[in-house]
């Protein structure tokens, strides 16, 4: 399976291994263009080695996440494309 261009929703499973609050409705502001949108409406590039969430406005890499599966699971999470991430408790 090569890399697939999908919606931010497609990153939800992997990110939910890390975040306990709902990530697809969390709002991420891009450090490059400033656009703040819900993760579900951003773009996700999903491959076997990891997922990159890109800004739907300017294509900047917002979130890069990779997981190592052999042995205890280990995650690499790069959030430097995000100015802030606003997560909300769902009541």
């Amino acid at each position: 399976m090569g890399e697939q261009r999908l919606d931010g929703n497609a990153a939800a499973g992997l990110l939910a291994e890390i975040f306990t609050l709902e990530i697809t409705t969390a709002r991420a502001a891009c450090v490059r263009c400033g656009a703040a949108r819900e993760i579900g409406s951003q773009m996700a590039y999903v491959s076997e080695i990891g997922t990159v969430v890109r800004c739907a406005t300017c294509d900047n890499a917002l979130i890069r996440v990779a997981r190592q599966d052999d042995g205890p699971q280990r995650y690499w999470l790069d959030l430097k494309g995000i100015e802030y991430l606003q997560l909300e408790e769902r009541l």
Binding site: R5, N9, A16, T20, E22
Partner: protein
């Protein structure tokens, strides 16, 4: 504690029933012990593990209504897929399937959110939209819904009989089909890919502030979302879920 949830965990569901919908798709009805319910539009991850430990994972939308209590997955068989041929050809009632979910709160709809709802599906992209249609009925909602559903041929229309039945008994549910490859003799519906003109004819007027959900193969989703925005729909009210060129 409200709002605090446990880490998303893998669990085992039992296949209660498998039923072919069309020549290329099958519905899997699962009983998942401890399932805490889902919202219409959410998906699950399914994981298969080979004897040598190799694992393959795919996402499938939940097609059943939250009120149903069971988890129905719609699987399209992709001939060169790693996962879908096993799910459609090998899996039997009584077998176990490893999954986790529900996942994704963004591409989801609760009857309390109202509408009107414009649903646009390509092929197996009907799955999460079917959950919304079923949820709307189960919740007794009268939110007007229009479904524009693109299929290759009449035989490939997934959930065809149930959709016909639902639309026949409910005048606020309007279903429009378009067939992209072959159409049966005497077919009076659309017979082409979804385009801006078709969307303009089917969609609610902008003044009604419709909420749109679009799900299907990536090219269809991107074309439909672009056309809806061109027609004046507010981008924030057009939610998309791409299946990708391969799903496996």
């Amino acid at each position: 504690m409200a709002g605090v949830r446990r880490k998303l965990a893998w669990r085992i569901g039992e296949v209660l029933e498998t039923s072919p919908d069309t020549p290329r798709t099958k519905s899997l009805i699962l009983e998942v012990p401890g399932w805490e319910g889902h919202r219409a539009g959410q998906h699950v991850d399914v994981r298969l593990t080979a004897e040598d430990g190799y694992q393959a994972q795919r996402s499938y939308s939940i097609a059943s209504a939250p009120e149903n209590g069971r988890v129905e997955l719609l699987v399209e068989r992709l001939d060169d897929g790693e996962v879908s041929p096993y799910l459609t050809d090998e899996l039997r009632a009584g077998d176990n399937l490893e999954l986790r979910g529900p996942i994704g709160g963004w591409f989801a709809w609760d009857a309390s959110e109202g509408g009107p709802l414009l649903l646009v599906a390509g092929g197996s992209g009907i799955a999460p939209l079917m959950a919304m249609i079923r949820h709307r009925k189960a919740a007794g909602s009268d939110t007007p819904v229009r479904l524009l559903f693109s299929s290759r041929s009449y035989e490939d229309v997934i959930f065809r009989e149930e959709l016909e039945r639902l639309a026949a008994e409910d005048e606020t549910l309007e279903i429009t089909h378009t067939l992209t490859r072959s159409a049966p003799p005497g077919w009076k519906g659309y017979h082409r890919r979804i385009d801006e003109e078709m969307l303009g004819e089917v969609a609610f007027s902008l003044g009604e502030m419709p909420l749109a959900f679009v799900c299907g193969p990536t090219p269809l989703v991107e074309a439909v979302a672009t056309d809806l925005v061109k027609l004046g729909h507010e981008p924030a009210r057009v939610k998309t879920e791409r299946f990708g060129p391969t799903g496996g």
